[in-house]
Symmetry: C2
Subunit: 272 residues, 2 copies
């Protein structure tokens, strides 16, 4: 019988392989962030780890939902809460605010009550959740993350490691005017432009950190596999390992095809 | 010989007891936040846990330091970086910006280079670090924190638990003008007033969460101590436990005296 960790890992890898624009997962976006795919593949190539969720970092502009009467939540996420803009990439970040129907009422703030719904601009960095086989592996991964500046990382229950870094922005920029149903920005367009530029810097730092982490986890995996081979464990690929490798290779091919298709489409658009 | 955890705990408790305005610790503020003292005393009353650092939550306005030429850090903390304002309490939060010598140049932003030093307004919630005797205790405390909404908590190396929650604000509000040596605010005073009001809400939520956490850890400690008594472990106070209790009681007395003194002084001021 298969060990519970291997069983769980196999189920997760199956889900990852089947995930696509036509087959969304349970996350708000529904698909895996492109920038996370290399590190996900790397981590999943180790028999003692499997990724359970990820976000490569994003800029988001969120209109909070309607609050209940006695709701004391800081930001209500449900009940008509929605994103006005999200990107995981710098490529469509410039001038994002021109695509949102903001009315600029500079320095006109809503009353401090439960009826108004706030709008926030956020930069949120990379976050990765990795399930490890045991405490030893979880501690190794945790240490690796901390050494690379992911100082808000931690081990959770069942050897789940959360890899987190604290380069955030969280800025109140406006609110929803219930009477007129308008999106009011109480900061100027030039302020939105300024914080957008700051987000470019943060994306750069974020991806630099992601690269560092990738290299460091690569070393960790290499040193573990050389440890296990030198300790006499056979290196011949088992039926299960072969199956997992096939799944990974399939996922990689799928991504490469998708990228190629996008490049072709972009090329077509340029030619028109 | 004393067990290493007990030794470490004793050293930490000694430091806590000696800590005062005249004997600062290594933290930027130098003393323990008043709001943390009850939960610190509670946690330290358990023989399997000791607090190693804490911040009860704060509003801070930080002027970053000078960056080096090839510095790619998002915010430079050292090299003349300094707080323009910090509070751990709502009592001196109102109108804080009138006590900072800001020049309001609304919507005039600095160039995107390494020479300018940014000013940020932040709300940072409670954070607590607790060293536990073993994985079992660390997991119990971690689960307790997660169940109370401290969703960014995690276990670190050597069973150190970080208790974190994500109700932050991180808002760019200005910069230091090198030529004129002025503190420029590129947002309006009314915007600063608005985000200050939002911070009141966050402080309330933060202290509500701290209370919840306190009660929950109290239950955890009670259930552990009844477990250990029912499992036949003697309840008689050992020499070491007595010593630790004395240290705690001393700390509590010291705090109470301090509070009383402050109240008397506030009363005096009112009477003048």
């Amino acid at each position: 019988m298969q060990d519970p960790f291997d069983q769980k890992k196999q189920a997760i890898l199956n889900e990852i392989t089947l995930n696509s624009e036509d087959n969304l997962d349970a996350s708000p976006k529904g698909t895996i962030d492109e920038h996370c795919i290399p590190i996900i593949n790397l981590i999943n190539s180790d028999p003692n780890m499997v990724t359970t969720s990820s976000c490569s970092g994003r800029v988001s502009v969120f209109l909070e939902g309607k609050k209940q009467e006695n709701d004391t939540k800081i930001i209500a996420k449900g009940n008509e809460g929605r994103w006005l803009f999200v990107t995981h990439d710098t490529s469509d970040l410039n001038n994002w605010y021109t695509k949102v129907d903001f009315k600029y009422h500079e320095n006109q703030f809503p009353p401090q009550d439960n009826n108004h719904r706030s709008i926030s601009f956020k930069f949120e960095p990379l976050i990765l959740h990795v399930k490890c086989r045991d405490l030893d592996q979880a501690t190794k991964l945790y240490t690796c993350a901390m050494n690379n500046g992911f100082r808000e990382s931690g081990i959770g229950s069942n050897f789940n490691v959360a890899i987190r870094i604290s380069i955030k922005l969280d800025i109140p920029i406006g609110y929803y005017e219930n009477d007129t149903e308008e999106l009011i920005s109480f900061v100027s367009e030039s302020y939105l432009d300024y914080v957008t530029k700051l987000s470019f810097e943060r994306f750069n730092e974020n991806f630099k950190k992601l690269d560092q982490l990738y290299k460091s986890i690569e070393c960790l995996i290499k040193s573990s596999s050389s440890e296990s081979s030198s300790s006499g464990i056979t290196k011949k690929e088992s039926k299960e390992e072969r199956r997992q490798r096939k799944i990974r290779e399939g996922l990689q091919r799928q991504q490469e095809t998708k990228k190629l298709k996008e490049q072709q489409e972009a090329q077509k658009e340029l030619e028109q």
